[in-house]
Structures are given as structure tokens and as C-alpha cells.
């Protein structure tokens, strides 16, 4: 990282008046799972990166900060591998070997058995705070990555020559490109005047971890209940992550239940196939909505991850789509860097936009449609969707295609998602 000083006057200047500007190729705003992973890859590819995050990394690793776990599809697991994070994560991630989808009490079901597929596992479950630990460790090992924690953007100037950011701490950063990775309520997006389209599902996601007597045998279950999908996702040991979608007006009541009553409600939905269950750690409740930015590009600015698109967790694709953005962004920037191109130029950034537009739109529509189709108890719709499940289940080719798509193995894939090196 080059640090240059601009003395305001001739010699004998009072040190306090020397403005320090940190010069970098890339400024990433937001050091979460998406921004952090992207920072690791870009710095590893030889670009100088400044990553600004409001919070201290240590605060993000507590169970209180983020109790969620993420499904990491095989294609995105390769992105974490390319970011140098996977070695640290692999012992704490649980493989998903089988996926069983059921519609309430219906006898129709969809079963993704690893015996049907040529690749296993389908993906992994990783706890978010574990991902944050891996990121913080990796940050420390990258010379070209400069993490400025507990700081945020006061002002971001973007012009034809580059971007200049002034931070709350008074630091100044100049870079060729700013990347907004600051999540659903992205300030970067708002400041750039990029409109957001969104709608609420009037559903909340209740998330918690449970311990159970029996082994989950690395099977993920998704059960469609009238209030919304209820997922049991395998974690390491005899533990599972529960993602329980509830109507928003009922969610606060569920959250307020005592442990025994909550456990009883859980057991009603969960069944007894894993033996006795016991919730561990805090419960979480997130309002569910779909949102997408009207565009992901502006002058020398690009949005990635939830800042650009956030979706229903029905297919466990939120972080996967963010990491697919990361893989495409990293490839576009790495290629441009090797050719000496201006990293913030439209020719470079538009390739990213074209590349991601279709995939992101398709996934937003699919998750929205699935949720509408399954989160109800209307008889004809139930019949239709159950027949649909049964049909997909009986046609191996179709089944395989859906699975490969969810695994992130279909389409014009970035090199990192194909398991190849960037350069």
C-alpha cells in the first residue's frame, strides 16, 4: 500500500496539518462475508485494497452478533477456496449429502440423494460467525489488504479520475474503484441515488441452533408449511440449524415463548426423527423481504451481494449469490489489472454487470415464485405443486439440472467457481 503525504506548506510544517492519503487500487465498503471475501481475493491477485468496516472484527465473531448459518453450494465453496478461506473452514463445516423436500403432510416429496448425482456433497453448512473468524485470520496474512475497522465513509467523491473517500476518522483514501458491499441497507447505494425495488413477504425467519439425540446423517430437510418453509440443516456434530419461516404477526409471540414452550412449538414442526431436541444459544428473528437495486453500476462504483440483491432464504441462496458476484467481480478486475486497464472504467465494470444480471434476476424470481407457490394452503395450488415435486423427483435429468443450478454449476461460470485459478 502506498501512503503519500501532501505537505500543505514549505518545510517546518506542523505535523498535525499534514493530510495523509491512503492510495489503493480498490476501496471496499463493508467487510462482511461478501466484501471480506472479495477483499481477500483481490489483494491476493496483487491489487491494493482498502476495506472499511463499521465494526470491529472481534465483535462480529460472537454468537450474539450473527447466529445464522449459511448453505455454501459446491460452486461457492470453490470461491471460498480461491479466497484462501476454505482450509480454515473445512473442519467446521458440515457436508450436505442428501436433501429431502416435503410439502406439509403430503406423501409427495422430492429427494435429492447423493447416489443420483455424480458429485457430492451438494454443499456445506457453515456457521456465519465461523466464516467471520476465517476472514479475520486471512485479513492478517495479506500484505496488500488494509482493513480499517470501526470507521465509515463520511463522504465519497467519484469523478472521471478516481474516487476519494473521507472517513469519519478523518482519513482520506483515493482509489480507482469503490465497491459497495455494505448489505441490505447499503448506505453506499443510497448515497449514489440508486433506487431500490423491494417488497416484504410479511414473513419472518426465526433462526436457531438445536442439539439432537440422533445423527442427522448429513441430510438437509425442507418442509413446506402454510406459514412458509421450515428447514433443518445439518451442522457439525449432533446439531442442526433451524430456519423457521413464520407469519410476521406471529413471529414476536414465538420469540417471546419460554424455552420449554418454544421447544414444544419447534418439535411440532420438526417431528421426532432426530430424537429429543434442545435449542442452544440465542434465537434470531429477521424480517424477510425481496429487494433489488435498479442498477449495480454507477460512475466508479459497483454494488455486490445484498447491497445489490437480497432474497427469500427459501433456497438458501443469499450468500451463494453474493459469492457468485464476488467470483465474477474478482475475475473481471483481475483480468483488467493484468492488462493495466483502469479498474474503475465502464468497459471493465460493464462486463461484470452483463455477467451477473441474468443469474441474479433468475434467482430472485425463482425464490419469489417458490415462496408464493408453497407458503399457502390453497388446495388446487397444493395439488399442482405436489405433482410438480413428484414429476421433478421422477425425472432424473430434470432433477439433476435443478440440483446443478442450485449448486452453482450451470451457466457461464467464473473461473473461481469452476475450481480454476484466477491467474
Amino acid at each position: 500500500m502506498r501512503v503519500s503525504s501532501f505537505p500543505q506548506a514549505k518545510p517546518l510544517v506542523n505535523m498535525r496539518y499534514i493530510m495523509t492519503t491512503i492510495e489503493a487500487d480498490i476501496l471496499i465498503i463493508g467487510g462482511g462475508l461478501v466484501g471480506g471475501t472479495l477483499g481477500c481475493i483481490l489483494a491476493d491477485q496483487g491489487m491494493s485494497v482498502v476495506l472499511v468496516d463499521r465494526e470491529a472484527p472481534s465483535d462480529q465473531m460472537t454468537p450474539e452478533y450473527d447466529g445464522r448459518a449459511s448453505a455454501i453450494a459446491l460452486g461457492t465453496q470453490r470461491v471460498l477456496e480461491g479466497a484462501g478461506l476454505w482450509d480454515d473452514l473445512k473442519d467446521d463445516s458440515a457436508p450436505i449429502d442428501d436433501i429431502r423436500v416435503t410439502d406439509g403432510d403430503s406423501l409427495m416429496f422430492l429427494h435429492y440423494d447423493h447416489n443420483d448425482m455424480d458429485i457430492r456433497p451438494f454443499g456445506y453448512m457453515v456457521e456465519n460467525r465461523r466464516l467471520r473468524v476465517a476472514l479475520a485470520r486471512r485479513f492478517g496474512s495479506l500484505k496488500k489488504l488494509n482493513v480499517l475497522a470501526l470507521d465509515s465513509i463520511r463522504n465519497l467523491d467519484r469523478d472521471a479520475g478516481g474516487v476519494t473517500a473521507t472517513l469519519e476518522s478523518g482519513k482520506t483514501i483515493s482509489a480507482k474503484l469503490a465497491i459497495g458491499a455494505d448489505g441490505r441497507s447499503s448506505q453506499t447505494r443510497e448515497d449514489a441515488g440508486i433506487e431500490l425495488t423491494q417488497w416484504s413477504y410479511n414473513q419472518s425467519g426465526i433462526v436457531c441452533t438445536v442439539e439432537h439425540e440422533q445423527s442427522h446423517e448429513n441430510i438437509a430437510h425442507e418442509r413446506f408449511l402454510p406459514a412458509g418453509p421450515f428447514a433443518i440443516l445439518p451442522l457439525t456434530g449432533n446439531r442442526s440449524c433451524i430456519v423457521w419461516t413464520e407469519r410476521s404477526e406471529l413471529a414476536p409471540a414465538m420469540m417471546a415463548l419460554g424455552d420449554d414452550e418454544f421447544n414444544a412449538e419447534l418439535a411440532r414442526r420438526f417431528g421426532d426423527f432426530l430424537g429429543k431436541t434442545r435449542p442452544t444459544g440465542p434465537r434470531w428473528c429477521y424480517p424477510l423481504s425481496l429487494q433489488f437495486a435498479e442498477r449495480v453500476l454507477d460512475k466508479r462504483l459497483v454494488l455486490v451481494g445484498d447491497a445489490a440483491h437480497a432474497m427469500h432464504p427459501i433456497a438458501g441462496q443469499g450468500l451463494n449469490m453474493g459469492l457468485r458476484d464476488v467470483a465474477a467481480m474478482a475475475e473481471v478486475l483481475s483480468d483488467a489489472h493484468r492488462l493495466g486497464l483502469d479498474l474503475g472504467s465502464a468497459a471493465v465494470l460493464e462486463r461484470y454487470e452483463r455477467w451477473r444480471r441474468f443469474d441474479n434476476t433468475l434467482m430472485l424470481c425463482m425464490t419469489d415464485l417458490l415462496n408464493r407457490l408453497f407458503s399457502n394452503d390453497i388446495a388446487p395450488i397444493r395439488l399442482a405443486r405436489d405433482l410438480g415435486l413428484a414429476v421433478v423427483n421422477r425425472i432424473p435429468l430434470l432433477k439433476r439440472f435443478f440440483m446443478r443450478h442450485a449448486m452453482g454449476l450451470v451457466g457461464d461460470l467464473p473461473r473461481l467457481m469452476r475450481g480454476e485459478k484466477l491467474g
Partner: protein, 247 residues
């Protein structure tokens, strides 16, 4: 001595009039900006091949003395300088050179911009490891004289990299009619199809100087995703790299 010039006065005037738009990537030069990454892929690849450089290293072109002839706003000069090359860039338009120099300064780059003809540099006895001339030869008055001038500036071990538009039925349809009148990618009248240059004409003009073609690639536009990529179809835009036989 009298330096005879290959630059066409009308062509210089046309580009001078829009000089300050060189770096507006949504303006008149947008197509060139969009084409630039794939052009640079060829140019940087050829340079790394020719000089045995590792394209993944930091500053892979460090120490190479390059000349960009007809540099315009510096769309190729800037990336080459960023990759470590010592770049001299010339253009016939005074306004153009001023715009290019200002932009390079703002970008923190160090490029030696001069408003002159290649013939001037040859007369000064200068030579370069590589001479690069992109989208220029189709605008000069005398192709062979221009190629003579470029050849004279390449060191014996050096190479010459050219990019231009082929003179084919396909290029008439795409580079002239579609680009100027239908898609309006470039202002009408930007190109004269009759001045487009076939690869064989480049090869014939350079052979007397010992420069042989080493590789040639077309730049192909993918209508489905809007990407440009290098391919084997050289019927419209193409890039070629020439060097002298090593004895």
C-alpha cells in the same frame, strides 16, 4: 531534411474536433473503450510472448521501451505504462496530445506524449523495443509509406503490433454500415471502407523490412452478452503481431 507525412489533414481535423471526448466512455469514443480490453489482451499477450515476460507478474513490461503511434487519448498508452513500460506516444493532432497528456497526469502516469509523425522520430534516430499502432493505418494516406516509417522505428529484436479493420464484405456490413448508420456506435463518416486494410497488405508492406507475421486474431463481438473476445475470425477488426526472423 523534408519529412513527408502519411497523416491525412481531413482525418486529423475530424479527430481534433472531438479530442476532449476521448475519455468520455459513454460518448463518441465509447466503442473504442469497449473494444480496448480485448485489444490490450492481444497487445500485452504479444509483448509478454515476444519478450519472455510473465504476464501474471507485477509490472510485466518493466524496462521495455514502447512507442504508440496514433495514440489518440492514450487508451493503449496508459495501460502499457501501468504495466511498467516506458511509453512514448505520438499523434498528429495537437489537441489530442494535450488531452492525452492531461489525462495521464491526472491518472498519475508518466507517458512521453509528442505531437509528431513517426517519420520525425525516425529522423531523430530513435528506435523502440516494440511499436504499437491501433486503429490508425486505415486513416493514413499511404499505407506502405506508413508501414515503412513504423518498421524503421523497431529495433532488430523488437516487434510491431497493429490493429485495424479488414476490407471484406463483412466489414462493409458491420464496421461501416452497421456501426455508423444502424447501431450508431461511431459518427457517420468515421471510416472509409476503401481505406480498410487487408492482413495480406500489411504483410506485403512489412516483409521488405524483414518483419513477418507471428500471430493474428480477430476481435469478435458477441451479440448475446455484449462481450468482445479474441477469435479466429479476422474479417472485421483484427490485430496482428510482426517480428523479424531471428538468425
Amino acid at each position: 531534411m523534408v519529412i513527408t507525412s502519411t497523416a491525412s489533414p481531413e482525418e486529423i481535423a475530424r479527430f481534433t474536433a472531438i479530442a476532449d471526448e476521448w475519455w468520455d466512455d459513454s460518448g463518441k469514443f465509447r466503442p473504442l473503450h469497449m473494444l480496448n480490453p480485448v485489444r490490450m489482451e492481444f497487445v500485452v499477450g504479444a509483448l509478454c510472448d515476444h519478450f519472455g515476460r510473465d504476464s501474471t507478474a507485477d509490472s510485466p513490461l518493466k524496462g521495455l521501451k514502447l512507442l504508440d503511434v496514433g495514440c489518440g487519448g492514450g487508451l493503449a498508452s496508459e495501460p502499457l505504462n501501468r504495466l511498467g513500460a516506458d511509453v512514448t506516444a505520438i499523434d498528429a493532432g495537437e489537441e489530442t496530445i494535450a488531452v492525452a497528456a492531461t489525462h495521464a497526469r491526472q491518472s498519475g502516469l508518466d507517458i512521453n506524449y509528442r505531437q509528431c509523425m513517426p517519420e520525425t522520430l525516425a529522423a531523430e534516430g530513435l528506435s523502440f523495443d516494440a511499436v504499437i499502432s491501433l486503429e490508425v493505418v486505415e486513416h493514413v494516406t499511404d499505407v506502405n509509406q506508413f508501414l515503412d516509417a513504423l518498421s524503421a522505428l523497431v529495433t532488430p529484436e523488437g516487434c510491431l503490433i497493429m490493429g485495424t479493420i479488414n476490407r471484406t464484405i463483412k466489414s462493409l456490413a458491420f464496421a461501416k454500415i452497421a456501426a455508423e448508420y444502424i447501431l450508431r456506435w461511431v459518427p457517420a463518416g468515421t471510416h472509409d471502407w476503401n481505406k480498410f486494410v487487408r492482413p495480406s497488405e500489411l504483410a506485403n508492406g512489412l516483409r521488405p523490412h524483414g518483419l513477418d507475421i507471428k500471430s493474428i486474431k480477430g476481435t469478435v463481438y458477441n451479440l448475446a452478452n455484449g462481450d468482445w473476445r479474441l477469435g479466429d475470425d479476422t474479417a472485421v477488426n483484427y490485430l496482428a503481431y510482426f517480428s523479424r526472423q531471428q538468425h
